[in-house]
Amino acid sequence: MKRFIFALAVGSAISLAGPVARVTAQTVQVGTAQNAIGTLVVVRPDGVQERLQGKGSLKLFENDVLMTEPSSQALIEFKEGIQVALNENTSFKILSRWEKDKPVTRIIRLKHGEVWAKTGEGPKALEVETPVATASVRETEFNLKVQEDGQSVLTVIQGIVEFGTPFGTCPIRPSTISYGVRGKKCTKPAPTDVAPATSWASAVRQ
């Protein structure tokens, strides 16, 4: 009888604690920060800050906010092999979207600044969100910059990027540039020299 009451108590405690199968957990590592020229600041969801200066392996988790200061750059790599470089004065949050029977989609919510990203081969889904648009990519290399007014500038280096705003989505091809502006569809891609979009990240990628 005592055993029965104990089992009942444990069962009740478990049911009162609510379901445990949440889709995100702040303890699951999603990648590492590997290099910083100057300082990379990582702000955890509880407000605790960690810093990376030079090469290293700083663990990154869901909901971390990453920030670079003036004259600083950084390189991170998600565990799926996706590389992301942050230019100076850049801030973004690491998130992910879970969908049943699909690989997790890594999301970078870019508040301001500039990122370069390369997803490599295979089904590695990455989305970079800005206040006015989202770049969704697989097997691509691209650069995305958010200006102070939220306008977003996408330069595609390799592969095709789906560049979407609430008013429509455009496929952006290599060596072209497109702009995302509040209240409009992304602009028609125009030919561009991609060298400036790749050169700034070369030092931190070494």
Binding site: G18, P19, A21, R22, V23, T24, L95, S96, R97, W98, E99, K100, I107, R109, E127, E129, T130, P131, V132, A133, T134, S136, G164, T165, P166, R182, G183
Partner: protein, 338 residues
């Protein structure tokens, strides 16, 4: 005897003819007036904030037919697609929206929107879900096809309510921190007007005549905005902590705005003519009523009592509670399939 045979023959012929005609009628009937396929029973969905789940209730039998784990924390608001196949649920503590498949009764996606994701409303074409994030003072725009965040719109401080106009030209966002409602032009995503409304404005809903009704949960009144002028045209005191509003009829009278009033444990019915707002009915319900929804006919109300963990079904004709269904902890929001 001969007369008898004749009579039998006549009766037999008549019966045969009648049967032939009846059979013919049956074929014609098959062609022109097949009985309608049995429609699925409407369903009631209840967001249980402290259970992180959604209760699914058969709206004919008033029985729980399932409980869906939202796979997130603090399930708060619900929005159901017009075809009833997808249910979008905000999760306050997770800052995420859960997407629920209403056929399989399971969560099939979890979308990060923003800190303290509070309410979700679908655009009139159901292609986007707009989510008000209290902690980030903005609205996330979610593509309901691929679940991507397509952009954000800055709002006032602490956005808590969201509704679209009948024609979809305007979105209305209530801001509890600013005590205002923003009017957003959906063509440009710009705030074109900010309307002062009162203390801690919360819930917003579109009325059958196209006006926007809201509750000042921090005060004791409700208010009405006319989309033709985007002005607040009326307000009315109903009691402390007015929560949510649904529109229904009491017999031939109506439509009335039925307001859950948390402090009174009542649903207060207000005549829905903004020029003549007055209380026309009061119905006692369970503890701290919050969510409320009317059936499409406007004869039943479904009320979520967050203090007594139950859903109550009210018959508006008699103002009686006709069913009480236990649900999860702290039920906040109710929606019903069409």
């Amino acid at each position: 005897m001969k007369r008898m045979e004749t009579l039998t023959g006549i009766l037999g012929s008549s019966l045969g003819l009648s049967l032939t005609v009846l059979a013919g009628c049956a074929e014609i009937s098959d062609l022109f007036s097949k009985p309608p396929a049995e429609a699925p029973a409407p369903r009631i969905y209840v967001a249980n904030e402290s259970s992180n789940s959604v209760s699914v209730i058969d709206a004919n039998k008033f029985e729980v037919i399932g409980t869906v784990d939202a796979k997130n924390h603090s399930t708060h608001d619900l929005a159901l697609t017009r075809d009833g196949k997808r249910l979008f649920a905000t999760n306050l503590a997770s800052g995420r929206v859960s997407v629920i498949d209403t056929q399989s009764l399971e969560t099939i996606a979890s979308i990060p929107t923003g800190t303290r994701a509070h309410v979700v409303t679908l655009t009139n074409d159901n292609r986007q879900a707009w989510v008000a994030n209290i902690g980030e003072d903005n609205i996330s725009i979610v593509d309901t096809g691929n679940y991507r965040i397509l952009g954000t719109i800055p709002a006032g401080k602490g956005p808590t309510g969201l509704a679209f106009s009948h024609d979809g030209r305007f979105a209305y966002v209530s801001n509890q921190g600013d005590k205002t409602v923003n009017v957003i032009d959906t063509a440009s995503h710009q705030i074109i007007k900010t309307i002062p409304v009162g203390a801690n404005p919360h819930f917003l809903v579109l009325s059958p005549d196209g006006r926007i009704w809201g509750t000042n949960t921090g005060g004791n009144d409700i208010y009405v905005i006319d989309p033709a002028t985007n002005e607040k045209v009326a307000s009315f005191e109903v009691g402390a902590q007015p929560q949510q509003i649904a529109f229904a009829f009491k017999g031939i009278q109506g439509p009335n705005a039925y307001v859950t009033v948390g402090s009174l444990n009542k649903v207060i019915a207000v005549n829905a003519d903004p020029k003549n707002l007055r209380i026309v009915d009061q119905i006692e319900v369970g503890k701290s009523p919050n969510g409320i929804w009317a059936n499409p006919e406007g004869t039943r109300l479904y009320v979520a009592n967050q203090g007594s963990n139950e859903l109550q079904v009210l018959d508006t004709g008699t103002s009686q509670v006709i069913a009480t269904v236990p649900v999860g902890r702290k039920p906040i929001r109710v929606v019903v399939s069409r």
